[in-house]
Amino acid sequence: MAKNIESNLYTMLFTTGMVVIVGALLAFLSSSLKDKITENKRIEKQQNILYAMGVNENDKNSVIFVSKDKVASEFSKYITKQLVITGTDVVEDDKAYLIDLKKETAAAKIEGYTRRLPLFMGMKDNIQYYIIPVRGKGLWDAIWGYVAVDNQLVVQGVYFDHAGETPGLGSNIKERFFMDDFKGEHFLDGDLFKGISVSKGNSDPKNLDKEDFEVDAIAGSTITGDGLAAMLKKDLKMYLPYLKTIKQ
């Protein structure tokens, strides 16, 4: 065949060949790396949960998780109980942290399905923490995180992460200067649920007022910030009936 690369037949053969080769290559790679990737994600979840309750190796400015090889032992040491709340039913389940919030949110739309809410209880320096996973929408893609509260329902730490917020702007929700602002914030006004909003121009850039239900926003990331506030409002509210039973 004096290669006639202009012919329709050749074009079709080439396309088919390319699709088969690329498809097979990616499928092979994806399935052979799947176990490793799932394991990495599992470790990351444990690191995130521990981070929210203050078990981390942070230095002055950056986020540093407990290291990969220590995370399993630290997780069983600090996380004393994992609960799954289904309606009024509360059961213990040490795999609760593996519950996929995305799937639960989707399933909750089906009539008659009661959403399973995972909740983690941690104990550090004799303080009891309740760590609530949250998930919502940012500007481009999903955002999620963990909020640790004490038995007064005051936020003691958070961890946020995102799938694809704008680098340098919305992506800063996972930076210390933003996350640290949440420490000490209230989301309840007496018995009234207020949530925590991410607001601009609240004349409290140092975030000294912890009972204003606001933290300082990031410049240039309004929609990510609003999405984050909406996520907190929506997901914390779901846990409210249970959380009220622990408030002392």
């Binding site: 690369i5 202009e6 074009t11 390319m18 790396l33 704008t166 702007l169």
Partner: protein, 215 residues
């Protein structure tokens, strides 16, 4: 240089100045505007593009005689996308933290018009080694502009460089902020990136006679 002839060397030096992909070819503007609010993001994106450009140009050049001209764009797109996905998967398995940093850039790399532009303009017509060098050269030219823009946007917009507060603390009013200096929040938004790129083009054109157009 024994390895590279003068002509090959020009493939690296040209895109750095007289034939810069961003300022002269006007390719890759979208990512230059989107991710340069911080210097760190600029550097990460530059390294990622360097990698994909080099390998992508090489692959396309090797395939240049068998790709049917009618569907060459689709073929190019598949090559970039495959390369990027392979890198992403391998990083997720073996360097998870690095992959977290890069994840948001993946889509931006695939759609980066510098990559497609160089495939079209160079790799389809030149041999593998020269294409590889051209890819590296253009990625470096892209990196240069990204880093300059990132440097000024982070410095003037946030008062920091790579996250270090070089101008003092804007909330505690230390450093230059003690004298009434304020960060320019506008620098963090995309329009100022465009203006910064515009200023670079202006400076470059005014200093280089060859680039001044007659009219």
């Amino acid at each position: 240089m024994g390895l590279l002839s003068k002509k090959d060397l020009k493939l690296i030096t040209d895109p750095l100045a007289d034939n810069n992909p961003i300022t002269i070819q006007v390719l890759g503007i979208c990512s230059a505007l989107a991710i340069t609010a911080e210097l760190k993001a600029s550097i990460v994106m530059s390294v990622a593009v360097l990698f994909v450009m080099g390998l992508g140009n090489l692959t396309i050049s090797l395939m240049r005689n068998i790709i049917p001209p009618k569907i060459r764009i689709i073929a190019q797109l598949i090559v970039v996308a495959t390369l990027v996905i392979i890198v992403d998967l391998v990083l997720k398995a073996y360097a998870y933290e690095l992959s977290k940093t890069l994840s948001v850039f993946v889509g931006l790399i695939i759609t980066n018009c510098i990559i497609m532009g160089r495939f079209e303009a160079f790799a389809l017509a030149n041999g593998p080694l020269r294409s590889f060098i051209d890819g590296i050269g253009n990625a470096l030219g892209y990196a240069l502009i990204l880093i300059i823009v990132g440097f000024f946007r982070e410095l003037l917009g946030s008062g920091s460089l790579l996250g270090f507060k070089v101008l003092g603390d804007s909330i505690e009013k230390t450093g230059v902020y003690a004298y009434g200096y304020e960060n320019n929040g506008f620098m963090l938004l995309a329009p100022m990136a465009l203006i910064t790129v515009g200023i670079i083009i202006w400076i470059q054109r005014s200093r280089n006679e060859a680039l001044i157009e007659d009219n």
